[in-house]
């Protein structure tokens, strides 16, 4: 780790741009090693569980790691950039499959994040003022999150069965639509996937936003009320700006989770995932484990990683710039 070897910056050379108040870091003798000691355990764990395996994964993407070589990795011949070439050749069956899966994932991720945030915000705001039974409702709303992921998704799978499922039963009772639609195959699979993922994720948005709301001082609202601001304006002028730091994290994290969501398609569709529900993480899993081509799967993962990093980078730059302007 290069971090640990650097000398701490002396206070005098600190850029003057940021006017900081005297704080803990100005205590003499501490600033040198304390922050490093504080982050060291986290760094160590990240190294072993994330960074090191990822480097191995990147190496894997450059070798021909098929079933002929997985028992003896050192004998696997270099593949150069061939794994990447195959993955990105969209005229070829493998590349075409990856591209389609990518498209499905983009739609899934955007819609799920948007829905989860809207529902989470709606509920958090609705529960902001105390009322009788608030604790019960709050608990109820958290239940989807408290359920083991597998249990929740399986229940949905059970409900989305064509002949015996609750969803089609409700639709028939309400005389909606014609016949019994399929939910787990065909193009409806994407709708199912979004519904199930949102069912679970919105409560996380709710939880996070609710925690964020509690840190907004009440007198802000009181002052605004005195000034005659309505609820909507209070939400826009007080709630939204106050939640900004929480939102920045929340939206990005929801995006990253949904984009590499594996559990939902894996449990919802099992081995029978339809093209419309072929999320990219599951696609890569199949490309690796089903066809035993771990080099190719690793190359696809690296491409996914690069994409996520670019999107995140842009997101951070854009939101960072906005913060500075505001």
């Amino acid at each position: 780790m290069s971090v640990a070897t650097h000398e701490a910056t002396p206070a005098a050379t600190k850029p003057p741009a940021r006017k900081s108040k005297p704080g803990i870091e100005h205590r003499p003798g501490l600033r040198r090693w304390l922050p490093y000691a504080l982050v060291a355990p986290a760094v160590l764990m990240e190294l072993v569980i994330h960074i090191l395996p990822m480097l191995v994964g990147i190496w894997m993407s450059f070798v021909k790691l098929t079933k002929f070589f997985i028992a003896n990795w050192s004998a696997a011949p270099s593949a150069g950039i061939n794994n990447y070439k195959v993955a990105l050749d969209f005229d070829n069956a493998v590349g075409e499959g990856l591209l389609k899966s990518f498209g499905v994932t983009v739609v899934f991720s955007l819609v799920t994040v948007a829905l989860s945030w809207v529902l989470g915000m709606a509920a958090a705001v609705a529960l902001q003022p105390a009322f009788k039974g608030r604790a019960i409702v709050r608990t109820l709303f958290l239940v989807p999150y408290a359920l083991p992921a597998y249990a929740g998704i399986l229940t949905w799978n059970f409900m989305l069965q064509r002949d015996t499922g609750a969803v089609n039963h409700v639709l028939t009772q309400l005389h909606l639509g014609d016949g019994k639609p399929f939910w787990l195959i065909g193009s409806n699979a994407l709708i199912s996937l979004i519904t199930v993922a949102t069912w679970k994720l919105w409560t996380f948005a709710f939880l996070t936003l609710m925690a964020g709301l509690t840190s907004i001082p009440r007198d802000l609202y009181e002052a605004a009320s005195v000034d005659g601001a309505g609820n909507l304006r209070q939400w826009r002028n007080i709630t939204l700006p106050s939640l900004r730091p929480v939102n920045l994290v929340l939206v990005l994290v929801l995006f990253l989770w949904t984009f590499s969501d594996f559990n939902t398609p894996y449990v919802l569709f099992g081995t029978a995932q339809p093209p419309a529900g072929d999320l990219i993480a599951f696609h890569i899993y199949n490309a690796s484990f089903l066809t035993w081509n771990f080099g190719s799967g690793a190359a696809m993962s690296v491409l996914l990683l690069i994409f996520l990093m670019i999107v995140t980078g842009i997101y951070l730059i854009v939101t960072g710039r906005k913060s500075r302007r505001g």
Partner: protein, 437 residues
């Protein structure tokens, strides 16, 4: 202290000490030094639950320990996890000594080089290759090489039919494909939610078996002699289409079947008398009975070929037993394989696991119905063809099977599938296999 040694381990790994030792490096071949030996055995799920498997196998393994002094550490692994577990075991070298595999994976797993080839000595050690049914033994690996797995439980497809429904509709058990379709049509009444057949049309593993069998009935191969895929041959396309047409053209299967992602669901429909026929392997017996149908209420005939077609009614299905090459207890492992494949054990396990014996001259014990036993024995011994014994077999299963899932889904959601579309889908599957081999 545990924590300290753990931290030391983490630190050293972080410094990159140990990665050089990748792969199955410590292949100790000190085979069978006697003394206190413990084998690790991964069994697949054959019974009604993992726990049931454990209950069935435990006394059998205890007997083995009593006979030989070798202890067996059993873990039963569900089918959802088995392939991944085997893959990671191969990759890391941290493997059990003996493992059950789906026999269709045999050639693919053989290609990894992680399994012990049964050369002449090894075959002699397990009781000689002559004790096995030849077609069953042929599933053990690529032709012309030492096999890396031996048959353990035999299975075969059969066409189960509901006797009462057939009698009521005055139809005979079918002998040809055409008769099967006619009978199924008579027994289909969508208004009453009554269907002639149930298909596991959302299960890629089931679908690929029928792609193979229907292709084989058309005298068509899925891989050429050079090991290259020949998915798009006319016989294969027509065979796949014939099977799809059960739902599309003949309309004898409920479109809902398109989301039946395992054989269990179609068997349940049969057992609960929603459908008159189901094509399943003989281990369906226990499910059928468990779901309320009595043994005498159903009959079995071979899954029929069209008139003039090749009489292939099944692939040689079943479970094989493999030994990991880097086992430290080779002799003990071979003793165990011998024990599991001897006549007594086969008889003991044949009933609870509904399996056919893989031994010559052994009598099937999975059913008390003599006619059913005879039919399945006949299918297994004379009307079965092994799935392609090529390293790319696993890719054949996933690509062709998933292509068929897609085609069924299209039919079920109201679309139509022509021969050209079947061919295009098989072409994509073939390209995928080609791209990753």
């Amino acid at each position: 202290m545990r924590l300290r040694s753990f931290v030391a381990a983490v630190a050293a790994t972080a410094l990159g000490v140990s990665l050089a030792a990748c792969g199955g490096s410590d292949s100790g071949s000190d085979g069978g030094t006697g003394g206190d030996q413990t084998l690790t055995y991964w069994a697949s799920n054959q019974g009604t639950s993992l726990d049931n498997d454990k209950q069935v196998l435990t006394p059998v393994l205890e007997q083995f320990t009593k006979d030989t002094g070798i202890k067996v550490n059993l873990e039963v692994i569900g089918w959802n996890d088995l392939q991944t577990r085997i893959q990671t075991a191969i990759t890391s070298g941290q493997a059990p000594d003996v493992v059950n595999i789906g026999n269709t994976w045999a050639a693919s797993l053989q290609a990894t080089g992680a399994f012990l080839p049964f050369d002449n000595d090894a075959l002699t050690a397990i009781g000689g290759k002559d004790k096995f049914v030849p077609t069953a033994l042929a599933t053990g690996g690529k032709a012309g090489e030492d096999i890396t797995s031996v048959p353990l439980y035999g299975l075969a497809y059969g066409l189960y039919y509901n006797k009462a429904m057939f009698a009521a509709a005055k139809v005979e058990p079918p002998k040809t494909w055409e008769e099967m379709v006619t009978a199924a049509q008579k027994l289909t009444n969508p208004a009453k939610n009554q269907w002639g057949m149930a298909l596991a049309a959302g299960s890629y593993t089931e679908n690929v078996h029928f792609a193979f069998i229907n292709g084989a009935q058309n005298k068509s191969e899925w891989f050429g002699a050079d090991g290259k895929p020949t998915f798009t041959s006319d016989g294969n396309v027509q065979g796949v289409l014939r099977y799809l047409d059960l739902m599309q053209k003949d309309k004898v299967a409920n479109p809902s079947n398109a989301q039946y992602d395992n054989g269990t669901k179609s068997v349940n429909d049969f057992a609960t008398k929603k459908v008159a026929m189901v094509i399943n392997q003989n281990n369906a017996d226990s499910s059928i009975v468990a779901n309320g149908m009595k043994a005498g209420e159903y009959g079995v005939v071979p899954f029929p070929a069209p008139a003039g077609g090749e009489q292939v009614a099944s692939h040689v299905a079943g479970i094989n037993l493999s030994v990991f090459k880097n086992t430290k207890h080779k002799d003990a492992a071979l003793k165990f394989v011998k024990y599991m494949t001897d006549a007594t054990t086969q008889t003991t396990l044949g009933k609870p696991f509904s399996s056919l014996p893989v031994l010559k001259d052994a009598k099937p014990v999975f059913t008390t119905d003599a006619a059913e036993a005879a039919i399945f024995s006949d299918i297994y011994n004379t009307k079965s063809k092994p799935l392609p014994l090529v390293p790319a077999e696993d890719q054949f299963e996933s690509t062709v099977g998933k292509a068929m899932n897609g085609l069924f889904a299209k039919i079920a959601t109201g679309g139509t599938v022509s021969a050209d579309e079947v061919k295009a889908a098989l072409q994509t599957a073939q390209d995928q296999v080609a791209a990753s081999s």
